[in-house]
Structures are given as C-alpha cells and as structure tokens.
Amino acid sequence: MKKKTIKGAAMILSALQKEGVEIVFGYPGGAILPLYNQLYDSSIKHLLVRHEQAAVHAADGYARVTGRPGVVFATSGPGATNLVTGIANAYMDSVPLVLITGQVPSSFIGTDAFQEADITGITLPVTKHSYLVKDANDLPSILSEAFYLASTGRRGPVLVDVPKDVFDQEAHFTYQVECDIPGYKPTYEGHAGQINRAVKAIRDAKRPVILGGGGLISSGASQALRNFADKAEIPVILSLMGLGSYPGDRDLFLGMPGMHGSITANYALTEADLIIASGVRFDDRVTSKIENFANNAKIIHIDIDPAEIGKNVQIDIPIVGDVKMILEVLEKKLKPGDTSAWLKQIKSWKKEFPMTGGLSETGNLLKPQFVIRELSRLSGENTIVATDVGQHQMWAAQHFIVREPCAFLTSGGLGTMGYGFPAAIGAKIADPDSRVICITGDGSFQMNIQELATAVHNQLDIIIAVINNGYLGMVRQWQDIFYNKRYSQTALPGNPDFVRVAEAYGVKGLCASNVQEATDAIEKALSIKGPVLINFLVEPEENVYPMVAPNCPINDIIVGGE
C-alpha cells in the first residue's frame, strides 16, 4: 500500500504531538507562515509573546518547571536573531529547548535575501546541536533527534532551521520517538570502582560537605539528595542553580556558596576535608580565587558531562553519570563517618553569621531584603519564583526560602536581565496551580516589560515584584565598592511610574514604600486574580552582602555595614 504524503509543516506538528508537546511559545513572520497556517487547525496551543526573546525565556521557564523540552517558533532573520540571548541563556543553564525557525526558501539561501540570517551559524557556539533542513524527507528523523538531544544527557537547546519551501514540501511521514545517534551516547550509570572509592572517602571524612547544583534539578535528584544527606548527616550547600533541591529551611542546609553566598557555606567549603560535588560546574562565582578554593578537601565530582570534570578544579574522585542514580547507589552503600564535631562547628558558624541583611531598617526606608522575606513568608507552599538578574536576584537567593526543586528559576550562567518575567509566564503555563512570583528590578523588568500584554491576554496569575531602587543596582554596587562611587550610567532617571504602566496594560498595579505598605501590598496581591504588579520603592543604595570580591579567596568576606 502506498502511504500518502503530507507537507513539512504538518510533519512538524505531528512530531510535536508524538513528543507530547502541549504548547509552543512563539511569534509569527514571513518565512514561517506555512507552519503558522498549519497551526491554525492544530490542537497544540500557542502562546503569542511580544518579542521573540521572551518566547525563548518563557519556553525555558516552562521547561525548568515541567522537565520537558520547551518549544519555540520564530521566523527567519530578525525573528531568529532575537532568539539568540534566550538560546545562550538556556545553553549556559542546560535547559532543554527545541527551537524551530523559519528560513528563507532554499533557493534564496546565501543570497542575502530579505530577512535572511545564518541562524545555525550564529547559534553554533550556544546550541547543543543544530540542523538546517534541506529536504522534508529528513524532517521526521531530525525532529526526533532534536527532542532526544535536548532532553537527554546534559540537556540543552537544539535548533532546527526550516526553509519556507520545506514547510510546503510533500513527503512521507513515519516518526520514531526513540532514536540512535552514533556520536551521542551519554553515560548514566556511575563507574563502580569510582563509586566504591567515594564510599570509602565519605566513611573516612571528618568534615564533609555536599556542594550541589543545577544538575540535581535536571536529573530529578532532589529526593535522592535528601535521603543521602540526611542519612549521612552531611551538610548541604547549593549553588544558585541548585536552590530548592534540598529544603532551604533545614538545619543541614548552609545556603549558597561563593560571591554572595552565606559565610557559613564559604567557611565550610574552605575547612572541609571532603566535597561531594553533585551536578555543579565550579563556576567562578562559586570558587572565586581558584588557587585557594577548598585546599583542604578531597573532591568527589559527580556530573553527567565528562568535560565538566577537571575543567576548573582538580578532582580526586570523578564519577561520570546521572547524579540521581549515583546518589541512590551512594546512599545504599553508605557507611556514614562521624561528622558530629563538624556539625557542631557548622552550627556555631550558623549562629554567629546568620543571613541578616536588611534587618536594621528603621522607620520609613524599605529594605529590599525585608520585601523578599515578606514575599517568602506570605506566599506559602507551592510557590515558584522567577528572578531577573542583579541585586534583587541575589537577595532572592539569600532570603527567599525555597523548599522544592524546579521552584526557583533564575538565569544563573549567562546572567540575562529580562529573563525573569517571561520565565514566570512559562512557569505559570507549566503549572497553573502554583503561585508564581516574578522578583525583578526596575532595570531588568524594562528589558521585557512588553510581556505585560502576554500576561494580561492570557489572564495569568503572576505577581510581579519590582524591587525598584532607581539604579542598575548590582553595577552601582561595584562602582560603589571598586570604582570609588563613580556611578557611571547606572542611575535610571527616566524610569516610568510602573503602577501606571501596569494599569495601561490592564494589569493591577500596587505601590509600597514602607514596611507596612509592603506587607499590605503583598497580602492584597495574593488575593487578586490575574497579573498584579507591586512597585516596591526600596532604599536606593542598599548593597548585597556578604560579598567575596572577585579573585579573593571565598573565606575573605566583606560583611558590609550591618
């Protein structure tokens, strides 16, 4: 029997259905018209953003919450190039995305045609892999590979560039979700010999710590980590990307390490005799001066990406594989050592150096840390936080208590201002029953403020907490500390009245400039349906502390004026 042929565009939507995709984030345009025409009759939902960059960030937020690849459509040329920041962001944070871009028709490629851009070339260094489809007959295998690559191993964004004529080309469609790629064989099970060495090292350790990161969340290792840490009585430090994989309110949790980490976490890493690094990549914001990092410790490094092991620091016991599977094996084989003296030491550090920033507020000035703590206190369980980048991001990481994985979405690697709000939109779509709060700054928010329209149009219950200090606060802080208070181009004097901007879009707007107003506004926002913006007018020159200056050892900490 001869099978009937279908168009390339129809193949793409069928493939998405077979991959279980429910929603696509995107923005139409000329070269991708045939795909949007096909989408018109499809049961797959589409979230229309107002700028392509927001589509990637929203898909990224969606992917971080669901654990499944986020899917993006954009057109050729500027549509595709507007994706680049979002793709780089997802690449740095290992977020699974499948991006489908329209391209000028095959015969025009290379002629500098209208809205032509070599998007596979442009995104080469920031994608896990990419394809330029030349023939619709290749579409099924390419799409299946794209989803497989995005969502397995160390996850990441995969781009599929489709010329306009390929959307319209008729071909046979058979789709296999499973695929075999000869040059791609991720390792999941850890090496038994190395695991045994790790078990011995843990048994012999007197001052062990776990340093966990985003890999814990990607692999769903949260429960495995809890079981392992609790049974072994080993304290847990989580990088920005790892927050939530161990409950932020437990005694064994020491906070975040590095530049704006807790003093306890940094002291513990410095004094430790064993670091169990799990799904972390020893970023410079964590290690600071690498020569002085954890000199007293043996390091076990568990990671799915072999290239991460030994990249930044020397590793004593490397274990390549899935961190969840490996932590489960380690827990089973575990012979806990005696960590009681160490835990006592840690307890005394925690008591001596609590995360207290912003407690000393008096009277009228609203401290940003207070706002974050109130948001944390009042929002309750099942809350997802999406942050932007800057001071508010660090305050959120320090003061918002994250209890569950996939509940703290932040641009960790690339540090993309403008990430938070669209990511919050993606998170709300992924999990409509969760409360979603976007913690942003007056600088960051204006990088994707146009998405207020998307939030209103879809009546998404999102609280947008603008920590408004009238500055690009983190840059101003560096100018304050390292550049003699020469505030070059960091004040934002043209800021709009955010409440009125919100209202203009049809979003409820609230304002708070003191402690009482802040608490009231949060309580009110929590009771309102649909998107709400709160403009928190906070102390303009508050700094983030503790702080480790760049290229200083992590136990050399600036505590600030508190």
Binding site: L124, P125, P182, G183, A307, G310
Partner: protein, 164 residues
C-alpha cells in the same frame, strides 16, 4: 607539547565549522589540521595538531567528544605512531644553482615536480623536523612559496583508531 588528535566525524554539513568553532571559542590553538575521507563512506577523519599541556589537551578531547557529529577522538601522541606531512616548495633556481638544489632534494628523498627557467617546485613528505631541515637548506637559494597539507598520522602496528 604538541599532541596529534585523530578525530572521526560524520560527514555532515557544518561539521568542520563546529570543530573549528569549538577551538576558537574555548581558546584552544590549532597548530594544523588535515581532513579527508576514511574507508567508511560518510565518515571523515580530521587530524588535528594541538599545542598545550596534558590538561588542556584532555579538555579539548572531551569538548570535541561532546559534538554530536564527532564519533571518536584519539590522542595519537600517547602511542607509537607514524606521522607525515606533504610540502610543496617553489624555490628560485637559475641555471647555476639547479644541480645544488637537486642534490639537496635527493638527500631528503624529495621530488622535483616542476621546472621553469628561473624556478623549481619541489615535493617533500615527512615529519615536521624533515620539513624544517629542507626549508632551512633551500632558504639560501630563495624560497618563493610554500604550501603544506598539515600533518596526518596513523598508529603503528595492527591496531586501528576507530571502527564505524
């Protein structure tokens, strides 16, 4: 130290720019690179000479291996191997100097592949030291142009670098 990496890749569009791009963006230096087909259709072999410490070269190999189109990466410098490069040298050759040049070429087991009234083209194969040695000797006559292929290498003995 110089390391010679044998990289087996799928012959897919863009694979060379993926490999080259990886080197530039991670700050690794390619000393030279040679690409050609293998006995398996659809699979090419890149021979890449990299300058760097053991740690750097290990990182290069791991990063290369992450590229989806890269099937296998082997460091040939870690085992006994044979390496060759082909060089074409165009040298000034007046009537009086031709026989001197000819002698040098013979000593190096090279070949004269073209002669014109005032120049000769010489073909030499060998390892890097040999290339440098003949270059040095011919310099006095006046070298006008040099073209080199980049190094290719193979393991000694019956062991092969990859089967796909």
């Amino acid at each position: 130290m110089k390391h010679v990496l044998a990289v087996l890749v799928e012959d897919k569009p863009g694979v060379l720019s993926r490999v080259a791009g990886l080197f530039s963006r991670r700050g690794f230096n390619i000393d030279n690179i040679a690409v050609g087909e293998t006995i398996t259709p659809g699979i090419s072999r890149m021979t890449i000479t990299v300058e760097g410490s053991e740690t750097i070269v290990e990182q290069v190999a791991k990063q290369l291996h992450k590229l989806v189109n890269v099937l296998k990466v082997s460091n040939l410098s870690k085992e006994p191997s044979v390496s060759r490069e082909l060089m074409l040298i165009k040298v000034k050759a007046e009537m009086g100097s031709r026989s001197d040049i000819q002698q040098i070429v013979e000593t190096f087991r090279g070949k004269v592949v073209d002669v014109s009234p005032d120049s000769m083209v010489i073909e030499v194969t060998g390892n890097e030291e040999k290339m440098e040695a003949i270059k040095l000797l011919l310099q006095d006559f006046g070298i006008r142009e040099i073209v080199r292929t980049g190094k290719i290498a193979v393991l000694r003995g019956s062991k092969v670098t990859g089967e796909f």
